[in-house]
């Protein structure tokens, strides 16, 4: 992670990530059913206070419905379950494991505490912490990388806003499609102003001027990026083709499978 343009980085975060930390949550902490905490994260008034928890899933749904517009989600935590969860995920640490593996494990482990750590709407695994806003699973992303990016090459993904590049990611992948370098377009070295096709071509030339080979370069308009990220499953591929056909994406490099004649 070097030579990253902070404005593009900030925009990439806003586009791709959702943090639960800033969400308005109704927090219920209980111990074996006895409620010890019933509080809104932002101190707002909430309705439906209870003293006991018997059905955490039903209660979470009821509280969310009762506080419509005041909370983004409800979280109900049983003390001992949370302690056990954190002990489990920390003891799963392996010094040689990749960060991604460890972090994915922290989310996957929530499934084993589905009655002790409850959220609504959505499961704890898909709600808590930092979530991707890309409308795809990790498996989907890996499959797409293997399908559309040649191993040992560079992928450029960008979003254009009006007359300049709004955000970009320049990702180097090794022979196993593992990301080895993350950066952005460097505005001090490549002109990011102009039309989307012009900027896309410049980005490819700039990266390849450093001796790298770009096998995928896709730059979308802001609206197109939002539409593409929001689409899920097969609809994502359809959205890509539609946007490409409509000229809302610029493709500087792409495999045959992504081309539209």
């Amino acid at each position: 992670m070097a030579d990253i343009d902070v404005d593009q980085w900030r925009n990439a975060q806003a586009l791709l990530l959702r943090s639960a930390k800033g969400a308005r949550r109704l927090v219920v902490i209980h111990e074996a059913g006895r409620v010890l905490k019933f509080r809104h994260t932002h101190g707002q008034e909430v309705t439906g206070r209870v003293d006991t928890v018997t059905d955490p899933h039903g209660l979470a749904r009821e509280l969310f419905d009762a506080n419509d517009g005041v909370v983004d989600f409800v979280v109900i935590m049983e003390r001992r379950a949370v302690d056990a969860y954190f002990a489990q995920v920390q003891d799963a640490w392996d010094i040689d494991a990749d960060l991604d593996v460890f972090v994915q494990g922290t989310y996957a482990a929530l499934d084993a505490y589905s009655d002790g750590i409850v959220t609504y709407p959505g499961t704890a695994r898909d709600t808590l912490g930092l979530q991707w806003r890309i409308g795809a699973s990790l498996e989907d992303v890996n499959a797409a990388a293997r399908a559309f990016v040649a191993p040992g090459t560079t992928a450029i993904l960008g979003v254009h806003d009006g007359t300049s590049l709004w955000t970009s990611l320049v990702l180097d992948l090794d022979e196993e499609w593992k990301v080895t370098s993350i950066t952005t377009a460097d505005p001090s070295l490549v002109d990011i102003h102009g039309s989307r096709p012009e900027v896309t071509d410049r980005l490819v030339a700039w990266v390849e001027g450093t001796g790298k080979h770009v096998s995928l370069a896709v730059v979308a308009d802001r609206a197109a990026a939002d539409e593409l990220l929001a689409a899920r499953g097969p609809a994502k591929a359809a959205a890509f083709r539609s946007l490409l056909t409509q000229g809302q994406l610029s493709v500087g490099r792409a495999p045959e499978a992504l081309r539209v004649d």
Binding site: M1, D3, A14, L17, D83, Q88, L99, F102, R125
Partner: protein, 700 residues
């Protein structure tokens, strides 16, 4: 003990300054990572740093990078960029003073946080949670286990590193070379696992806990008396592992665990500092940087337990907090700086915003850096080290790129700050603050241990989703037999006092009840939250402060118990003859001063105004409550003032500021403008998130 006074060291801390042979030195510096730079870049990059007006270089020295195998090190023989000796020499040749930070922990966004991998792989060196699990910090690029700093084996391993690196550093230690200070470890906070039940429950730590209790309470009998227990031997005394309190008589047991966690960090740093002194660094200043409390968020008590700046300064020369924040977090910056200024003998910020840590969500930009810099100066910091001056892997947007090219806008602002500090004679001035607001560490300790869930420290927003710091969202609401829960109420009252002081126009700084009463000297008013219980010695000290002519503002209660829940009515007795003031406070004349008890939140602001007027405090008046003002005075010239006016809001404010005297010449220093006044007020419009710095002549 730090050799900061009464010794023959050429380096000392005096009058809030680091002095070399008695002369104050300006510590305006920044971080450069030699091992991350091509060696031929060193000189031009240092030249760029010098051209910005920096006079000091702060240098992390990574054990992780230098160790080849246990006890074998590369200091340039293999990788030329690892030649720390040569880099120190180059810094000296270019006229920099030097601060070194050899760890053992340095973080520095390194894969293993600065340690060799073999250290983290050694399970005998791991800290343990209350559950007995490992204690993992989720950080990039590798999660790492918190280490057990009570382990002799860990300290023995560290000794091997210190043997090697200190031999080099000692050659460059002032007065032989440019090194004036060395940092002991880095951001020590159980690897950010500040939650009371997160760490450290290792065998060595538990042994240290029992030793601490025996010392504090005078042996097993004293422990049993304090806890109402009947332990047959010390080995049967166990620390709390979760909060299950039901009565206030249990508070001492919980609070002692919080206090021990402070002591654990202090003891570890004392040991490491001793090891550094033994290896030739006894003649320079040793210091530490506690982490920025609550990250860039800030909270009411994040600067106290498990941190104890006052007691750590018994072991080191000075201690600061790091500061990284967006401009919207002005209150956080003000709190942290005000606390360091009110507590440390040398208010130095060891890591001070410059560039961006890539994993912060919504990272800031130059406008944040400019505003936060001015805010920190406004509230009284005396020195700082920019982190980072030179960009590199895993750090963004520094003034100097890793290839040596400069970011002109950033270089301009950073250089302008340094120029302003020199031209304004900033160090000649000091914060004028007649009021001292004390956070109540006793209550903060209870709050810390009354947390219901032990959320681990986390750099990356894993599923925990909650702060690792205790707060209203996660602590018990049990009143423990009192009429209201102290652990909740204390935050409400601290917040009320803090807000009322901010709006009062009286100059105030912040500390906590660990600050020794002799350090209250010079303040006219001490403000502290008091509830059902309070340490007997502290109660007596508050009365003594009033007897000596000061004013103590307390509330909402006069305590009836001491810290081990025995009857103690020192303050209540002193208030026995109190009368009710016009604003509803109970006021008692004590010696030549006063005790003032305010019992209702709604009365706090009015009572503080009443107290200030009665005490004859200097008052600044503003026309808009959104504004904040500080005044810095020059001891050698009562008419010379630096006046900082801040607009920490998102809208412009047409400000009218009266500083309590007749205005003569007024010059805004950042823009270099002479300001015309009517002789009583400065009237200027402040843009959103802006701070004006005025050099004024003020006469009574």
């Amino acid at each position: 003990m730090p050799q900061n006074s009464g010794t023959h060291r050429p380096i000392a801390v005096q009058d809030s300054a680091l002095t070399l042979h008695g002369e104050p030195t300006a510590m305006y510096g920044g971080a450069v990572h030699y091992w991350r730079l091509e060696r031929d870049r060193w000189a031009p990059i240092l030249d760029s740093v010098r051209a910005m007006g920096f006079t000091m270089i702060s240098i992390y020295i990574p054990w992780e990078v230098h160790e080849i195998s246990k006890g074998r090190f590369d200091f340039g023989e293999i990788n030329p960029s690892n030649d720390i000796d040569a880099f120190l020499t180059l810094c000296e040749e270019k006229g920099f003073s030097i601060v070194v930070r050899p760890g053992p922990q340095i973080n520095s966004e390194l894969t293993w946080f600065g340690y060799p991998k073999r250290i983290l792989a050694n399970e005998r060196l791991h800290a343990r949670s209350a559950q007995g699990s490992k204690v993992i910090l989720t950080q990039v690029p590798k999660p790492i286990p918190a280490l057990n700093y009570a382990s002799e084996e860990f300290l023995d391993e560290t000794a091997l590193w210190f043997d090697a690196i200190c031999a080099i550093l000692a050659k460059h230690a002032y007065p032989h070379g440019g090194i004036v200070a060395a940092q002991v470890d880095n951001e020590m906070a159980y690897f950010f696992n500040v939650n009371a039940y997160a760490a450290d429950y290792s065998d060595e730590s538990i042994a240290g806990y029992r030793e601490f209790l025996a010392t504090k309470h005078g042996g097993l009998a004293g422990i049993n008396a304090a806890y109402g227990t009947e332990h047959a031997d010390l080995a049967s005394v166990e620390p709390p592992r979760r909060f299950e309190g039901t009565t206030y008589t249990q508070i001492p047991w919980y609070a002692d665990w919080s206090e021990y966690r402070e002591r654990y960090l202090i003891t570890a740093m004392d040991r490491l500092a001793g090891m550094m002194r033994e290896r030739g660094l006894g003649g320079i200043a040793l210091f530490h940087n506690y982490p920025h409390p609550l990250g860039p968020g800030g909270a009411a008590s994040g600067f106290t337990t498990p941190f104890n700046l006052m007691e750590l300064e018994d072991k080191l020369d000075f201690v600061g907090f790091d500061i990284y924040a967006r401009k919207e977090l002005y209150a956080h910056v003000k709190t942290v700086v005000s606390y360091v200024v009110g507590t440390s003998r040398y208010p130095y910020i060891p890591e001070f915003i410059a560039g961006v840590w890539p994993w912060y969500l919504n990272p800031g930009d130059l406008s944040d850096e400019e505003f936060v810099t001015k805010a920190a100066l406004m509230h009284g910091i005396r020195g700082f080290s920019r982190y980072m001056l030179v960009e590199r892997d895993r750090w963004l947007d520094s003034p100097i790129r890793r290839d040596g090219r400069e970011r002109a806008d950033k270089v301009g602002v950073f250089g302008k700050v340094n120029t302003l500090l020199d031209e304004a004679e900033y160090l000649r001035f000091g914060r004028e603050a007649e009021v001292l607001l004390l956070a109540n560490r006793e209550y903060d300790r209870l709050e810390a241990t009354s947390v219901l869930i032990s959320f681990p420290g986390d750099f990356l927003e894993t599923p925990s989703g909650f702060s690792e710091y205790a707060g209203a969202l996660t602590i018990s609401e049990d009143a423990l037999g009192f009429d209201q829960p102290v652990q909740l109420l204390k935050g409400t009252w601290f917040g009320a006092f803090s807000a009322a002081l901010a709006g009062s126009g009286y100059g105030s700084v912040l500390s906590d009840t660990a600050l020794r009463p002799e350090r209250w000297a010079g303040r006219k008013v001490v403000v502290v939250s008091t509830l059902d219980y309070l340490d007997a010695g502290l109660q007596a000290s508050l009365v003594a402060f009033a007897e000596a002519g000061g004013t103590v503002v307390m509330g909402p209660k006069a305590p009836t118990l001491d810290s081990v829940m025995r009857p103690c009515t020192v303050l209540a007795d002193a208030l026995a003859g109190a009368t009710v003031s016009a604003q509803g406070a109970r006021v008692a004349a004590v010696g030549s001063g006063r005790l003032v008890l305010v019992s209702e939140l709604a009365q706090v602001a009015a009572v503080l105004a009443e107290v200030g007027e009665a005490a004859g405090l200097t008052r600044v008046t503003v026309n808009d409550p959104g504004l904040d003002v500080t005044v810095h005075g020059a001891g050698d010239d009562p008419t010379a003032k630096l006046v900082f006016v801040a607009n920490p809001t998102a809208v412009p404010i047409a400000a009218v500021v009266e500083v309590g005297g007749r205005l003569g010449a007024v010059r805004e220093l950042w823009d270099g403008r002479d300001v015309t006044t009517d002789g009583t007020a400065i009237a200027e419009t402040l843009a959103p998130y802006s701070i004006h710095i005025y050099r004024c002549t003020v006469t009574a």
